[in-house]
Structure formats: C-alpha cells, structure tokens
Amino acid sequence: MAEQAKSIWRPRSAWAGIVEAGQIGVDGKPGVTALTLDDMGFATLIVPPGSPDLASATKRMIGLDLPKKAFVSLSSTHGVAWAGANHWLLFARQQAGFVDLLQSFSDHAAVSDQSHARAALTVSGPRVREVLAKGAMVDLHSSVFPVGATALTSFAHVHVQFWRTDDGPDGPIFEILVPRSMAGSFWSWFAASAAEFNCRIDRD
C-alpha cells in the first residue's frame, strides 16, 4: 500500500498532455525555441502600503533587489518580479527548498504559494518578438522593454506575466507564466503563431 501510494503521488506538469518536445512548422533552422519550465516555485508576496522591510529581507534571503516598478530581479537560482502595487512574485528555479524559503518570507509579507498555479515556459530565438507580437499589446522593442522588464498583460485573452531575461546567442529571451488552467488554450495560440517561423520545443 505504501509503495503504491508513493507511486501514485507524482506531480504532473502543467504542460502534460499539451506540449510535446519536437518541432512545429516548416523545416530548417528554428526561428523560435520554447522550453517548458516544470520545476519552478512561485509565490505572491503582498505587503501593506509603505511596509519597509520586504526589500531588506529579499536582499538578505536571496540577494536580490526588490524591483520598485515593472522589472524583475534575477539570479541564477531565484528571482523577484514586480506584480502590481505592493505586490511581487517571488520565484525559484527549483521547487526543492522553496517551501522553507516561503516560511522565512512570511514574517515580512503575506505569502501565498502559487507554484502550481502557473505554467511557465521560456521562449527565445531570432523571430521570438514576431511571435509575441501576435499576442502582446506591449511594445517589446529594446528601448521600451529592456532586459529585466516585466509586464502583466494578456496573450490571446489569457492572463500572463512575462519578463525578459539576459539575451542569449539567438537574441532576446522571455519567460512567460500562464494560469495553469489555460495552458492548453495558450499553447494552441502559441503553436499556431510560432509555426510560420519554425519552432523547436524542448521539455524541461
């Protein structure tokens, strides 16, 4: 029974049954690459207006500055993104240890674990902006949306938060968070929009 229970209780990716590794679109060099991120931890942090100590706590615990406007602070393991007035999204690249981290943040903010609430993916490639332009009512030009910028908006009527991380060899890289329940609809739009540029898909 214990053995059986163990084997049943495995988490299921938000992209399971939706995204398959491979290639969509025409043959040739991919203009866009998508990579699902299946092990990230997310939590909303909310503080009362004017609350002083979240910034110092963030600096102390994950070594990052708390962004004051629509930006994200990133390290190789963690990040914290502005998500509205007095409202941030804390995240970790791995879920391991994340619950403990949230515990230590709970003295400084109202913490709500959202690790399972979001389906996350990284999109990149020389044509990536053209794909996102089919969804984002956001100007993605570097002069307006530089590395580290974030936006809460909607793609194809799906609420998203996304940000731009450091550029890669193929140009800009964006990370997109989608409500878990709408991952399928989001992907339907993304796949149809990216196909003309040839899209390679990797699973985390």
Binding site: S112, A136, S193
Partner: protein, 994 residues
Amino acid sequence: MRKQLHRLNSGGLIDRTQALCFRFDGKNYDGFAGDTLASALLANGVRLFGRSFKYHRPRGLLSAGPEEPNALVELRTGARREPNTRATVVELFQNLEATSQNRWPSLGFDVLSLNRLAAPALVAGFYYKTFMWPARFWEKLYEPLIRRAAGLGRAAAVEDPDHYDKAFVFCDVLVIGAGPAGLSAAVAAGRSGARVIICDEDFRLGGRLLAERRQIDGRPAADWLAAILAELASLSEVRIMPRTSVFGLYDHGIYGAVERVNDHVAVPPAHQPRQRGWRIYAKRAILAAGALERPIVFPGNDRPGVMLSGAVRAYVNRFGVLPGREAVVFTAGDGGWATVRDLTEAGAHVAAIVDARSEINPESKTMALRVGARLFAGSVVEATHGGQALRSVTVRDASGKRARLACDLLAVSNGWNPTLHLTSHQNGKPVWEETIQSFVPGRLPPGLAVAGSAAGRFTLAEALRDGARLGREAAVEVGFAAAAADPVPATDAETDGLAPVWRVRGNRGKAFVDLQNDVTDKDVELAAREGFRSIEHLKRYTTLGMATDQGKTSNLAGLAIMAEQVGKAICETGTTTFRPPYTPVAIGALAGHHRGKDFRPVRLAPTHDWSREQGAVFVETGQWLRAQYYPKPGEQDWLATINREVLATRSGVGLCDVSTLGKIDIQGSDAAEFLERVYINGWKTLPIGKARYGVMLREDGFVMDDGTTSRLGENHFLMTTTTINAAKVMQHLEFCHQVLWPELDLRMVSVSEQWAQAAVAGPRSREVLRRVVDAKHDISNEAFPYLAAGEITVGGGIPARLFRISFSGELAYELAVPAGYGDAMMHALMAAGEPYGITPYGLDGLNVMRIEKGHAIGTESNGQTTARDLGLGRMMSSKKDFIGRLMAKREALVQADRPSLVGFRPVDTNNRLWAGAHFIGIGRAAKTENDEGYMTSVAYSPNLKHWIGLGFLKNGPTRIGERIQAVDPVRNGEVEVEVCSPIFFDPEGTRLHG
C-alpha cells in the same frame, strides 16, 4: 502562350519573363507577374467584368485601384471562394481563378438584365413603395425575389480553411501610403532614428509615381523611387509593409490595418496566415493616402470602355496595357491632357479631346494638333453608344451642336478627391475647399498630419515637400533630433487647373452617380423631391455610397447634384461621415486565431485528464469545461448515469471535482473585520480550523455570491466562491478594500489556480480519506467534526487541506492538494475507495443532490433574489453593518408576499417538471396577472423516485401542502404540483454529521 492583344510591346512594371496563366469565367488567359487581375484581363481584351447591382447592366473597369465600383469578382473556388473582390487590386498569381458576379446564366447573356426594361419603375425607394402590401407577402415572396435579383457575390458555403493572424505593433511614426509624399515622410522621419512603419495597400510601393511619366531631379521618377526605397530598406528602425491597408483610426493613436500576407498566392504556404490584422500603436501618423479621381455623371457613363483618365494612365504606364486604340478624352481639367499625351506615346490614337472648359491654353491646343485629335472646347459628352462595349460617343459643343465620334475608350477626368477617410474616423468633418473644388481634411485627430494629395495639395512638388517636412516634424515631436534636411527634389512642370462638371444633362440613357448601387442623377432628384434632402437621408433612401466601395467615386457627385436641387452650395449641404473600414476587411483578419474552439480560452481543471480517462461528458460553465456525468457502457441515457452516480454516493461514496470554485487567500490583522463587512453573517467568532457558509450581497441588497470560508490562522482566511462568480467576487473585494476601506490591514490574492480540489461524499467517505490522508492526522468525527478545516498532508508529506463541508447532504469532505498533484489525488482516492465502490459523479449528479437538499445555486441566486427570498433571511446579522444591508430592507424586497424559495413535487409522480414553469392557481387562467412565481431548478430524484423542483412562490413557506399548477406552455403544459419544504431528503440532516 496566348497572345495578349492589348499588351504593349514594352514598358510597364511587369515582369515579362514571368508569365502567369489564370482563368476568368472558365476561360484561360495569360498575364505577367506584376499584373492585377484587371490589368491582365484588359491586356487580353476583356471589357465586360460584371453586371450591375439592380439593373444588371454590363459593366467594365472604371478604375485601377481600391475605389473600383464595377469590377467585382468571386475570387478562387470552393472553401476559399471570396465574393466582391475588386479585380483592380487583386495581384495576379499562377492559376488564379475568378468568376464574374450577379449574372445568370452568363456574363454575356444575362436574363435579369430584363430588369432594364422595368427600369423606369426601379427608382429610389422602389422597394419601400411597392412591397408594402400585403404584408404577409414580404417574407415569403418579395424578399426572396429581391434577394435573388439584387445583390453581389456569393460567400463560400464552407469553413475557411486558412489561418488568420492578429498582431500588435508599435512605432514612433506611422506613414500611411507609400507614394511620393509617404516615402518622403518615412525617409525624413527614419533618418532621425525614429521607429517608422510605412504601409501601402498596393503590392508595389510608389503610389501614383508608378502610373505616371514624371521626372524628379531631371531623371525618371523610377530612379528616385529606387533610391528612396533602398534607403528605407537600409534603415533598421523602418518597417516597410506593402499589401497592408490601414483601414481605421481609433482612439489614442491606434490604427487598424490588414496585411494581405498570402492573398497573392493560390494557397498560403504551410503554417502561414492568409491575412494578418494589425493593431498599430503610433505616437504620430502621417496620412499620405493620395487622392481618388472623380468620374463625370453623364448619360451612358457606365458603358464598358468609359474609364477614369488616371486609370488609363495606370494601365498604360504601369501595366503596359492599352485600354483602347481609338480614344476620346473627356476632361474638366488639366488631368485629361496627361492622358492624351500618354495614350499617344503608347501608340493609341486620340480621336478627340472634349474639354468642358471654354478656355484652352495654347500648349494644349498645340498638343491636340500634334496628336491629330479634334478639340472640343466648352463641350461635353452627352451619350455613349455600343452594346457591351463602347463604340462611339456623342459630343455636344458649346453651341449645342452634336457630333458622334467612333471610339473604344472614353477617358474621363473631373479632378480628384483627397483620400481623407481616416481623418474623419474620429468625428472629424471634411471641409469644402472652394479653390480646388474638393473636400479636404477638417479638424485632425491628435497626432495625425496629412501630406500631399490627401490634403488637397495635388502636385508632385507639393507631395515631396509636404512629406519631407511632416516626416521630420513628426520625428522631432516624439523626441528625435531632426536629421539634416535634403533639398526637396525638383520636378518637371505640372498644372492642376480644374472646373469640375457635376453632371451633364441629356436625354439618351441613364446617367449614373453611384455605379455600384445603380443610383442615377434622377434618383437624387427624386429623393430631393420627396424630402430626403439631408445628405444622410439621401444616402439611406437611394443607397448612394453604400456597399463595398462606400461611395469613393460617387459621394461628391451625389451631394453636388443634391446641392443644385435644393439651391445650396456644396459646402452647405455637407458630406456624409466616413467610418472604418476604409476598404472591406475580412472578418477572419479581425478574429485572428480566435475562432472555433479558440474563440476564447477554455479553462481545464487539474483533474481534467483524469475525468477524460473516466469517460466524462463535459459541459461549459463559464470558461471552464467541467465533467457533467460519467456514462458507463450499457447505460441508456444520461438519466440512468446520473441516477447511478447519485445512488452510489448516497449509499457508499462518490467523488467529484470541485477545483473550479474560486479560492481567495485573505491575510491581515483586519481579515476577520473585512469578512464581517462583505458577508451578511458573523465571522469574528469563527475559530481557527473551522469553515462557515457565507452569503454576500451586492450594494443593492441582492445576493451576489455564496460559499464557505475557512479560518486557517488568526489572521488568515481562505474564501471560496462559486465557479461562475470567482472573478467578479475578487474584483468586488478588491474594490471594497481599495476604495471603501483602504485603512484595513488586508492582503488578498486569488489562489484558484494553485489548488486541485475534490469532494468526497457519502457514508463511506471518511474511510476512503483515512487511506489517503497521512496517518499522523486524526480525521475521526471527534477530532475533525462537521465544518472542520485544516492543513494536513497526503502521500507522505505533500501539503494539503481538508474541509469537512457538504453540498450533497452526506458525510462529506473536500480535499485540496497543489494542482500538480490533482491527477494523483484522483487516482489515490479511486484506489483507496475501490473497496467501497467509489463512484465519480459530475455536475449533474451534484445538482440532483443539492436540489434534494434544497441548496440554492446560480439559478436561484440569479441576481434578482435576496437572502430572504432564498430562505436565508435569518442569516442576516443585526449586530453589524455589511454591504447591502440597508438596501435589502427596501419595501419591495421585504414584502410578505414576495416569492420565496420552496420545494415542489408533482401530484401525479409520473409527471416530470420543467424549470422555467410559472405557478398559477388551480382553475385560473395562465395569464400574467395570475402569476405567483416560477420554478428555478428541477431534477429527477432517484431516492424519492419522482421529479422534484425548487422555485419561488408568493408566500411560499406558509403554503406547504397546497396544490398549484406549474404552467409551461412551450413544453408539457400544466402539471399539478404540491408545495413542500425545499429539503426533500434527510430533512433532519443526520447524514451530514454521521
């Protein structure tokens, strides 16, 4: 290759090495890359393109551009068939197939052209006047007849197989039109570093320069064009968008455009869209859309072979096609003389020049002499002759003397109208400019400037000057340093003298104002006589300016004739307002990806795949797809399935996904106080580890939503909402906090997506859960009683939440786990429940059980009912204030006989009940005045073995045991029902606490 008899031997911007074959009305033709369908057909000597809307008169090409009223064709076949396509803007491609419209059985012989014999009767308002009586004939006889006779092309009857995109783009300066003005503007703005988008509806950039033989800086304009296009292509922040029509101007510098990505191929390449709808966000925009030439209204002006003079030049110069060999030019200004020159140079003979002006300058006279054309000054064309193609015209000179001239082409020129449509999309009214006899843009929308012909400055020199200046200014206005200005290039001499002719009176045939809608000068006169004198009334009464061309070539003539009729100046009669779109836009380009199943996002519960494995039938509830029931092989219908699910749950244990309910995490030292204010009942006394049912009202006192809220800690609550109202409640709470009580110490966030949640209901539910919840948690009845709520773990340490709440009336729990474990949870519960026969049930089973227990859902709390109506009046606390408290006390809402919730059972238990039935006293007529309430929910109760219902009845609770009729005229008529308690099953609630 077939010979193209009207193709010139050389010249034109076509690629003679790339022949393309195509079909029109089943006949094969050849053209070249760079042709439009119109130019290719013209090259092949085709003159007849279609039949007119009302009279089925033969029609040919009037124009060479987007304003074309006549040459509408059905493009492509089958699912890709596209009606009302203007042949003048269709880019020719290999194997193109087009069919003429509005004719039967063939274009050459059209039966309905007999309408022409009845033409004297078919005047404006004919349908309104004739088919008034008898009224019942309208739908069955008149309308089908009219629809068959009138009308344009046929839409494809099957789904469009192509994909459409929708996209967003941002820029500093948007330039609309890539003629000399637009290109100058784009390069001037682009040089400063500004982000520039330049759009043109044509597949080739250059605007009128493509159609004219002009010199810039002493060299052919083509050289200038090539240089400026090369420079634009070299500027990294400039985006050039050919085949893109900017069709609308909206608030805050937002422009709508449609890019015909793959309209110029037979079938779009794999994965590419057919068209792309763009929303362009521009800080500044420059309208350089040019101008449209005006035809002249004269008898017979619709005969194939009568063509705008600028269009003639376009066919000759751009497409290398000679539209006629023996031409007459009828002009009201200098424009016609350029056509005389170009036609002659291309090898045609100009038989006559009919200039409506009596003064002709000496250079022109010399030219007439040189080309061997008769010159008629102060003269007009008053008739045309020929069948389906022009053979001759009758010219009337100033003295009234008539001459008949043989010709196969009549080029007409009456000046130009600025293409100012976008300037009036934000209510800007065009204003009449007497000096050029045209409407020009009036008050401009913020951020828009107008250059060149679009502003009524028609010469090439003005276009170049305007463009360069406005492009530079726009870049500076958005913060770029002005680039060094090049001197505006010199142009060859040009004149734009004009004395427009609004109509030529004659008695030989109809003079058309609007070719597309078959509106004549007589129709405008009739409208004036009958009192439809306002321009807007004129349009609606005669249909002048309607349909695909929106009056691009007809509006001004129509209102000029109206002005003459009512004795006013054109500036006094005004003009109709242009609205988007400037040219027709396929709905697909507006919808983009969002059609069919992608019309809007679908939300799937984290247990969705599990439900699918179980064979669930799903139903849409808001955005969610929820399991409705889980049929098993052999079950005859949905009712058999639901009965099984309900009985299995009530006798053993059932399992149901409830992940879709809204969940709001509420934290802060004022969280309890906040709940006090938004719910009608009390919350401060709720202990940690307990759940409570709550009802919230809108400000107006009606019920907004209900659900359970649990206290997870001293300052930490978890609220649940109904699935449908989740977002609305969140919004309401945010409003309450941010606007009404910002002083409260409170943090809220939706955690709906974080948790998968399942209801486990039935007498065996605790035993099932005992095998799933980690052993260290005591969930016995004593330790975890009814309404307990707590954080537990499952699967050896996975954080989870358990709530002992029940919608079914059974001993029941809701188990929540992080959504990623939702699938695992369902499998674990099924495995653990297997010995007890655990049975998945869906929304329908849930609904049966809640009706058996008299619980209200959205059909009862439907926005028109109060807590009192729902039998929850006593929940309303009198010890505190809460939203909706005062308004719920309004007189009408507390009247004793206000319908309130009770149960109903059929007297004859074989009868079924229907929701929506109204209650009428026995023996009384089914009339509104006898209405005593209505049924909101019904279900077949497999426990009671008959149908049961909930509904609102006047004085309901005091009438238990009475009988009344449930009247449903559209379904089973009248059913006698007995009023009963809304709680049909286990009224003592003993099962709940088991």
